[in-house]
């Protein structure tokens, strides 16, 4: 089990981002939405830059642009002005307002400001959703999940005017646009009608367009969110978010069963996901997906010897690390350290649940880690692989080992938004990536330069 983690006062090269960033990304997954940060100008700009470098898409995040006098007298007037200006320029259907450490600390009451706005402002008024995201509390994942919960709490109802198919809710957490496109495909193949919240598949991985879109098309329609209370069930990926999640709210308010499963990464977690869909739809797993699973197993067999016993360090968001660790365990890679900047207090338990029967010995699992801590532990662990986002690159370089780039952010490669992690297809891509990384390493380290595997 876990040994004592390093315990430093300072943080060096954090393995987490701040709460409002997660909220902004979640809001980007709603149709016609503009994310809005109630804080000083810098937060919005920094996050835009950070997010653009991964997705290569425009992401306009508005800001109250608070200055010194607002910090003293309160930011209400600027919030209202900002909302009016965003409405004028973008004509959004929804503005997703996230607070920042500045406005949380000066005690701005956003709910009250929004009530005043509602009474004072005439004319066009988008739907407002607000979420408290002080950056001194939690990571970007708390921001993400709390924003989703707030959207559900504010918008979901039980009246469904749509008469199409059997609706299911999927709350996938922070996964890639490619993952979401694939989730839609799978659910539709089961003749289910998915409402995926949030849906960044188009908004953060858009097409070349004829005209510049002020707000990128796509995202979960507000009407679909309004109907989430009518779904057959909700499927929520991950276990490390707070109890008051979007799925939990739907269960509590509308009695929609909330099926919480780990992120479907790898065969076993994907099987659970497909089984639930089969159960919900009453249909067998479609042949197309069975075949993909079959090919995946076939490739596992073909590739197993190249990776067996390789030691991996996995880091990033807790739920993604749980999923990836389970996947690595099932292909014969030994996870030796699982690290996250998050602090759910459930991390080790969930990893044990996902891998217990596959691993003779549990990896070290540590919450609240930064890359200094990870690097320090790595020295004695002698890993063969790093699995995580691109911020692990300096460590991979130092250790001269491959970095398998997954998750967010990918700032040093093309196509971060198109990495597929979930389901049989995602496992196939990850498996090929990992096997090939190991083969490439062996090949480039070899003086012979052999030309067969």
């Amino acid at each position: 089990m876990s040994k004592n983690p390093p315990n430093y006062i300072s943080t060096t090269n954090a393995c987490k981002l701040c709460t409002p960033l997660g909220a902004a990304i979640a809001f980007k997954g709603i149709e016609g939405a503009v994310p809005y940060l109630h804080g000083s100008q810098g937060c919005a700009t920094y996050m835009r830059r950070y997010i653009i470098s991964h997705f290569n898409e425009p992401i306009d995040i508005a800001s109250s642009s608070l200055s010194e006098k607002h910090a003293v007298y309160g930011g209400g007037a600027n919030l209202k002005l900002g909302l009016i200006n965003v409405t004028k320029k973008y004509h959004p259907q929804l503005i997703g307002i996230a607070t920042t450490c500045l406005t949380e600390t000066i005690g701005d009451d956003v709910k009250m400001f929004l009530n005043q706005y509602e009474q004072e402002v005439k004319g066009e008024k988008p739907t407002m959703v607000e979420v408290g995201t002080p950056s001194y509390n939690g990571t970007h994942m708390e921001g993400f999940h709390n924003a989703v919960a707030s959207v559900v709490d504010t918008l979901a109802g039980k009246k469904d005017t749509r008469d199409e198919g059997s609706p299911v809710n999927i709350l996938p957490g922070f996964v890639s646009p490619a993952d979401i496109r694939y989730l839609k495909e799978i659910t539709k193949d089961f003749s289910l009608t998915p409402t995926i919240l949030p849906d960044i598949s188009d908004t953060m991985d858009g097409q070349a367009a004829k005209t510049y879109e002020k707000i990128q098309p796509g995202g979960t329609p507000i009407s679909a969110i309004a109907a989430m209370g009518n779904a057959l069930a909700s499927m929520e990926f991950g276990h490390t978010m707070s109890e008051k999640s979007g799925g939990a709210i739907l269960a509590e308010k509308f009695g929609v069963e909330n099926i919480r499963i780990p992120q479907p990464v790898g065969i076993r977690a994907s099987d659970r996901f497909f089984d639930h869909l089969a159960q919900l739809s009453g249909l067998p797993i479609p042949e197309k997906h069975r075949a993909e699973r079959g090919r995946l197993v076939d490739s596992y067999v073909d590739g197993h010897k190249y990776i067996y016993g390789k030691k991996a360090i996995v880091y990033g968001e807790e739920d993604m690390v749980v999923g990836l660790t389970a996947f690595l365990a099932e292909i014969g890679v030994i996870p030796i350290l699982c690290a996250s900047g998050g602090k759910s207090r459930k991390f080790a338990e969930k990893i044990a649940e996902a891998t217990g029967d596959l691993l003779p010995e549990q990896p070290q699992v540590h919450e609240g880690m930064d890359f200094y801590d990870i690097s320090e532990l790595a020295e004695s662990l002698e890993p063969d692989l790093l699995v995580g986002h691109s911020k692990g690159y300096p460590l991979a370089q130092k250790l001269s080992i491959p970095l398998i780039r997954v998750g967010f952010p990918i700032h040093d490669r093309m196509g971060g938004q198109r990495i597929l992690h979930l389901g049989y297809r995602g496992a196939q891509q990850l498996f090929d990536l990992i096997v090939n990384a190991c083969i490439a390493k062996k090949q480039s380290d070899s003086p012979i330069g052999y030309s067969y595997m």
């Binding site: 943080t11 700009t45 642009s65 450490c101």
Partner: protein
């Protein structure tokens, strides 16, 4: 496109009316400014000082979004590429973060043995009232290196205020080092950040003409150099927005005169060398400068011909952090035979915008502190072929089917100096002439 009323006076069109332009004001709420904040201004200026500890006192965001953010290279230590934070938590916000900051400083200084420590305050520190001066003073007593607070609370002004805070922080270092042995023909290079190794090229030019460089402020910067920078005979200031305050302070306090230069584009690069040589009024230095410029131009100009021919008549738009760089870019595009149809910046001054209006062609849009939707409408209106900006501007260009040249702090291509002009031409060419545009709707429809 209809402008927000408050934004109208920050946009000017050359020749269409007498020059007026409002600038250096707080960004408008909800306008989606491309600007960052005071902290950003300080952080980017001090960032390249490679042997200093840069500790961000605040919640994690401010540190993590500035981790390894600049392509500012170091010839030695690389401490500047790490991201240090006190990662304030709720409990620190309630009870104050001074103790955590003190302990973090001791921990990091012991671990890394930096030559100095900069402690950046963030929004929240300004609110909870941590006394950074006192913490730094107390730690400094025990660690034997300068520990310097940078007053960069994000909300206390705009990015320009951050430049001032950075200059104030560096001012504390200047005057504390030994200046013996410094040549009378010596300069400090201010406002070059050694992106893609540019300051090494510039230093080499100065060395070739017989001028000693005392301190790089701040590209490939070192604390010890900055401490003896007051011994230099002249401050040569680029990117005047960011380090002019420091030059002024050194002039007042130590009598070091300063001049503004730019190393971008052939004309400005040559002018920078001539100005420095002229300042020293030494025939040998002037002769060497003439020889250097001649040699470099003989090498460069024939190579540029190919690009000039290909790019002649193409239209360019520019949006950069400080407007001083924009002047050089306007000239560089002219040299390539291209038309600049829009030019703007996040933090330009009225004087700079006025001068831009004087040198640009009629109809050129001049804009302060703009935003994605305005930029979009300008690029569309002017039917631009290439947009020069930073990461946040890139997707705007690409979605409009417009080429892009990164001229911001993340870039990996050296664009300064004579060889930089060639690289710039290649950069512009490789985007404008790429075959990929034939697949985008905008260009396909134009044909």
């Amino acid at each position: 496109m209809e402008l927000l009323k408050e934004r109208e006076e920050q946009i000017h069109r050359t020749g269409e009316q007498p020059f007026t332009l409002t600038c250096n004001k707080d960004s408008l709420a909800g306008a989606v400014s491309q600007r960052a904040c005071v902290f950003c201004g300080s952080r980017v200026v001090l960032y390249p000082i490679a042997d200093a500890l840069h500790l961000v006192h605040g919640p994690i965001g401010c540190a993590v979004y500035t981790w390894d953010i600049r392509g500012a290279l170091s010839s030695g230590p690389e401490l500047h590429r790490l991201s240090f934070s006190t990662d304030l938590q709720e409990i620190d916000v309630i009870f104050g973060g001074e103790k955590k900051l003190t302990n973090a400083l001791f921990e990091l200084i012991e671990r890394h043995s930096p030559k100095a420590a900069f402690v950046y305050s963030t929004c929240i520190v300004g609110i909870i009232g941590d006394d950074l001066e006192a913490v730094c003073r107390n730690v400094e007593k025990e660690v034997n290196i300068p520990v310097i607070p940078v007053k960069s609370e994000g909300f206390k002004g705009n990015k320009r205020a951050g430049y001032t805070a950075a200059c104030n922080a560096m001012a504390r270092l200047i005057g504390t080092g030994d200046t013996t042995g410094i040549s009378p023909y010596s300069i400090n290079i201010l406002g070059d950040f050694n992106l893609a190794g540019e300051i090494w090229m510039i230093r080499e030019y100065f060395e070739r003409i017989g001028v000693e460089v005392v301190a790089n402020i701040t590209g490939d910067g070192r604390i010890a150099d900055i401490q003896r920078a007051h011994g230099a005979a002249l401050n040569v200031v680029q990117c005047s927005g960011s380090t002019m305050d420091l030059a002024k302070m050194m002039e007042d306090e130590y009598g070091v005169p300063s001049m503004r230069v730019s190393y971008f584009g052939v004309e400005d690069m040559a002018q920078a060398l001539y100005d420095v040589a002229g300042h020293f009024n030494n025939p040998e230095i002037m002769a060497k400068t003439q020889a250097l410029v001649k040699e470099e131009l003989q090498e460069l100009l024939p190579k540029l011909e190919f690009y000039k021919k290909a790019l002649n008549g193409k239209k360019a738009a520019i949006y950069v952090g400080g407007s001083f760089k924009a002047f050089s870019l306007v000239k560089a595009f002219r040299l390539l035979g291209m038309d600049v149809v829009m030019v703007g910046s996040q933090t330009g001054t009225e004087q700079e915008y006025r001068e831009l209006a004087e040198i640009t062609d009629p109809g050129t849009i001049i804009v302060d502190d703009t935003n994605p939707l305005e930029l979009t409408s300008f690029l569309e209106e002017k039917n631009v072929d290439i947009f020069v900006g930073g990461v946040k501007e890139r997707p705007i260009a690409y979605k409009l089917g417009v080429g892009f040249c990164d001229h911001n702090h993340e870039r990996k291509e050296a664009l300064a100096g004579f060889v930089g002009m060639l690289n710039f031409a290649k950069e512009v060419y490789s985007s404008v002439m790429s075959p990929v545009w034939r697949f985008t709707y905008q260009k396909a429809e134009k044909k």
